[in-house]
Each structure stands twice: as C-alpha cells, then as structure tokens.
Symmetry: C2
Subunit: 279 residues, 2 copies
Amino acid sequence: MTQVVRAAAALADKVEGWKRSGMRVGVVPTMGALHDGHLSLLRTARRHCDRVIVTIFVNPLQFDRADDLEKYPRDEARDLALLEAERADVLFAPGVGDVYPDGFSTRVSVAGISEELEGAFRPGHFDGMTTVVTKILGMAQAGWAFFGEKDWQQLQIVRRLVTDLNLPVRVTGCPTVREPDGLALSSRNARLTPEARRIAPALYQVMQQTAQGLRAGRDPVRELDDARSRLIEEGFASLDYLELRHAETLRPLADPADPARLLAAAWLGGVRLIDNIAI
Amino acid sequence: MTQVVRAAAALADKVEGWKRSGMRVGVVPTMGALHDGHLSLLRTARRHCDRVIVTIFVNPLQFDRADDLEKYPRDEARDLALLEAERADVLFAPGVGDVYPDGFSTRVSVAGISEELEGAFRPGHFDGMTTVVTKILGMAQAGWAFFGEKDWQQLQIVRRLVTDLNLPVRVTGCPTVREPDGLALSSRNARLTPEARRIAPALYQVMQQTAQGLRAGRDPVRELDDARSRLIEEGFASLDYLELRHAETLRPLADPADPARLLAAAWLGGVRLIDNIAI
C-alpha cells in the first residue's frame, strides 16, 4: 500500500526508521499528472532501493507564467492509484504552505548552466526548480534520487547542484519514455488538440534525422537550420531553440569530441514541447 | 586524539560509521585562528554529542575585501593543538580547491535578513557564508551544529537557511565569550594596537549602558544617538551601525514587545569590531 504523507516531519520519521534498519531509500520528485515516464522512474527506483518515495508538488516557484501554473494538470486520486499499482511506498504530497511557510527567504541558484536554453526562455524557472529540489532532497533524506532525461537540462543542473552543495544523494537519470510514434511523454501532451497531436511526433523525427546528419559529420549550422525549417513546415508555430550543446554544461559545443546533445523547445497549438537526444 | 581530515569523502565515511553505531555527531564550523569563543562552542558540542567535528576553512567567498582575506590569521598547528587539548574528534580542514573545484556554480542566498546591517556593509558576505555553511553541513552530515552568538546576524541567517532548505540539523547558538574587560573575543582582535586594545572594551560598555536605558523605557532614537557619539568620543574612528533590531528578522523593531537585539559594527585603528547584546 502506498501511504500518503503530507508533513515533512512525518516523512523524516519514516525515512529515519527505514535507514536505521539498513534500507536503501530512493526518491522520485514529480509534479504529479503521472504518466509512464514517471512510472519508469519509479520502476528504476524500485530496482535500486528497498523503499521508494514519490513526491508530488506543483512548485509555484518554477513557473514563469501564471497561466501555465494554473493550467498544470492535477489529479491526486488518479496519481495515487498509479502509485499503488506500481507499489510506491510513500506518496509525499505537501501543501504549498508547508513547503513555503511565511518568512521563507532562501534561494538556491546554479549559475551558467541555468542561463542556457530553457533558462533563457523561462526566467526564474531553474532557480525555482533548484530551490525546491534542494528542499525535497532535504525532506526526503533519501540516498538515491531519480530524474528523467526528458528534462535533460534540469538533470544536468541537479547533478551540478548535488555536487556543489555536497548533498548526500546519488542522482540517477532515466531514459525518456516515448509514445509508439516517438513523441516524448509529457503531462503537457494532454493539452494538444487532435490535430496538434498528429503533428507533434515530427519533433522527435526531425531531431533523429538531424542527429544522424550530425553523427555523419555534416555541417551543424546547416543541419540545424534545415531542421528548424522542416519543423515549421510540419506545422510547429515557432521554435524557442533547436541547438547542439555540450551534454553536461549545455554550452555551445566548442570541441566536436565533447559529449553532445541535441535539444529543442517548440510551440504547437499553444503548447510548448521539449525534447532532446544524444549525438 | 584529533584526526585531521582533508577530503569530504573520508569525512563522510567516518561520520556514516559513527551514525550507524547510533552516535550523535556535532559540527562546529570555524575559519580557524581559534580562541576561547570557538572552544566554548566545542565544549558545548561535546556535551550534546558523542563525536565532534571542528571545521576550519577560510572561505574566500565570504570576504568582500581581498586585503581582509589575505590578512585573516591562519595557524593550523596552533589550532590543532587547541583542539587536541579539548578533545575534538576530527579537524576537517579542506583546501579551497576541494571546496570550490573547477565548474563550481551554485549559490545559496537568504533574502531580507541578509541585506540588513552586516549585509549592507559587506556586499556578498552572507551569500558566501550561506553557500559554504550549506556545503559544510552537507559534507559533515552532523545532526547538530554550533554557532556563536557573537555573529548574531549570521546565526539568525543560518537558522533561516536550515529551516528553509529542510536541512536535517539542529542549530545551537552559544553565548559570546568575552575578555575580563568585556571585549568580545574575535580573531580580528589580534590586529589591534595596544592603544586600540585599550579603547576597544568601550564598545561593549557603551552598548550595555544603552541596553539599560532601552530596558528602562528611554527613547531609542535618543539613546542610540548618544551611544554613537560616546563611541566616537572614546576613540572609535567610525561606526558602520549601532541599531536596535528585531532579534530574529534583524529588521527595524516595529513593536516594542518583539524580541530585540542591540547590534553594532565599529572601526578602531583599521580593525572592524562587531558586537551584540539582548535587550
């Protein structure tokens, strides 16, 4: 049975007990609206750990747009049923007032990597994310934490944060889960109209073709320009970015021998989709 | 015997072993140049905990002036001898490159309280302090941490930080230790000339008189103005501040019933002295 916990103190007691009996504790931080991508994180966590906490907290601090926060899907009963089926031990779902009580004043920020790509288009997003992730890791006191590669930049920032602040947790990234047609699972996909949903897989398809061209040694500037044009032709309204970057620092690729990642954010029918793949 | 540890990983192993055997672990973060104020923190820690780590790290991030960083006294052999005599279990003394390796990018900042008093006169000081304290607490993984009331504002900021980031540590503040003439112990006192050293105790004396006046209900504006004039008459070169503040938020005292603290920073012979007392 998945136990629902709302108070940080109750979670701390539970985790302390588990750790005292030598158990490995893992945490999967989410914003709810769970889909198979989240559940794959949970399954990976279950393989590594004796006890798994899934957290659900729609963090107002990391939404740059009020309408996006308001429209973000929430259905705790449905989420809980999914967690029960996958045998999560705890659903930790604190309220906003518990996470940010009166007087809350602290921010955790990661310079450099947070300012690239998503950071340039969603001001404050990553500072909100790093602050709440630090808090969730503090509350959960788990030795293992699981994040999806779907949010690649977030994953790299969390790794940087955990290293920089010496947080006693091992961060594991888990591969993006996709629909059969290649669309990366995302809670925001539910907002796509049928017409937009039909177009959406083109993002991954074009990225795959571009990745093949890049791996074959073709000129990145031209490949990326072509890819951007193709996405607009396919029906995307606009692109925030489609870029080839250093896979860890997210900076422009200085040396072709460095690990590289192709990352994109594109608008389709009022919904912002992101995706990324290895080169 | 006090064991000297330089690597965070070695410290983590040691602490994990202690905690597994059910021991209480305490940490006393310092910048070295240990005096009886630091040793009183250590003694308090020993009363609360089974094992005590004293950290020595002169944190470049929290010095707003390069000359202050350069002149900050360092004598690890002498510090170690004092820690041996007081039976500290570990002296954790990492190098600057271990604490801030290449690529380090994270900052922890506490808004509001960090901008008052010291924050206004030492730009960036508290962001550097909160960042390194978060790191030291992460490295030490101690359940108890001990800070001196001498740095009252720092203590309040650390309390805020620990609450806000849900860090699993109890923060204990320890009373200021003073010379027989009332001068608060400080590593910077060593820089006072004999003439300045003779004048220095006037800071505490004037603050005590002012506190008596305030407790007796006299007008704060007038009492504080008188105190400032008296300090200049006594031979202080200038005051950065002498203020009555809310004891926890450090904001100007809105309600006379709120907990209050009198805090001062004053220059004497090129040395900056700080002190504070309860009202």
